[in-house]
């Protein structure tokens, strides 16, 4: 899967839980999932589970803790897929 496709899927999954509509309009790899998009931290588990289902991979707790921005998520998924 190409990076662009990973990015699109990551944004789609995270957007479902975003509370800040304005931040969604200007979303980028630097966008912070909790601080900018105001995703409830409890929903990070759902997001990680969605990543696992969508990209068919397993994410450890340590790896999940490293996800802060959209870019972090894309990078992690790319690493685990290859």
């Amino acid at each position: 899967m190409e990076q662009a496709e990973i990015y699109t899927n990551v944004v789609r999954i995270i957007s479902k839980h975003a509370k800040n509509e304005d931040a969604l309009k200007s979303i980028s790899t630097d966008t912070h999932i909790i601080k900018d998009l105001q995703v409830n931290s409890a929903r990070l588990v759902d997001i990680v589970l969605d990543f696992e289902d969508t990209f068919n991979l397993e994410i450890s707790d340590d790896d999940a803790d490293r996800i802060n921005t959209i870019g972090d998520a894309v990078k992690l998924v790319k690493e685990l897929m290859h």
Binding site: N40, S41, A42, V45, V48, L49, D61
Partner: protein, 217 residues
Amino acid sequence: MLLHALGAYRCPDKQSVRKRLTDLLDAHPQRPVLLCANHLTMIDSMLITWFLFDFRTLLTRFERFPWNVPELQNFGSNILLRIMCYLGKCVYVERSGSADSRRMSWAKVLYLNRLGETICIFPEGGRSRTGRVDREGAVYGVGQLVQENPETLVISVYLRGHSQQQYSFFPKRGDSFFLDFRLTPCRAIPGRRGQREITQQIIEDLEAMEQNYFATR
């Protein structure tokens, strides 16, 4: 007594609920207890303790006096609340704190659970903004705790003041409360997915008790 003097809150079914709970706990000795309650006001945990356990039990069976897991932001800046939390068996958490901070809080909670203590926790993560059991707000730490110790007796508790429409800091002064509980037989499923499923089982029991409450009003 303090609560009674402060707000004259009352629960007409208190004695029968206490009897049911005592019977349940006596039937499962040596098992740590996890009280999973809905959350509408800042003093829910105090009310739950006050309504579920008589004063004598709190003194003689101190392990039944529930530990609470409050968010630091909610009480850290208020000296009175800090004192009450110190006296009232609390392990604070910083929801927006570092992963290490959250891990440390959970390690304490797990330790207490393994000691056989009673812990009161709010699976909705905070006071429900909708005034009803908030499935969307559910946090899965409760599932993690059950996974870590499958011996845990999970009891879902539904508490609601009859005047309570939405969430608030305090219940309405003098309010009368509905109180019910259910033993939630959680299956300890492994992994992150299991944490979510266990939490959803508890949320479903809270929703069922809420539906009963509104159906009989």
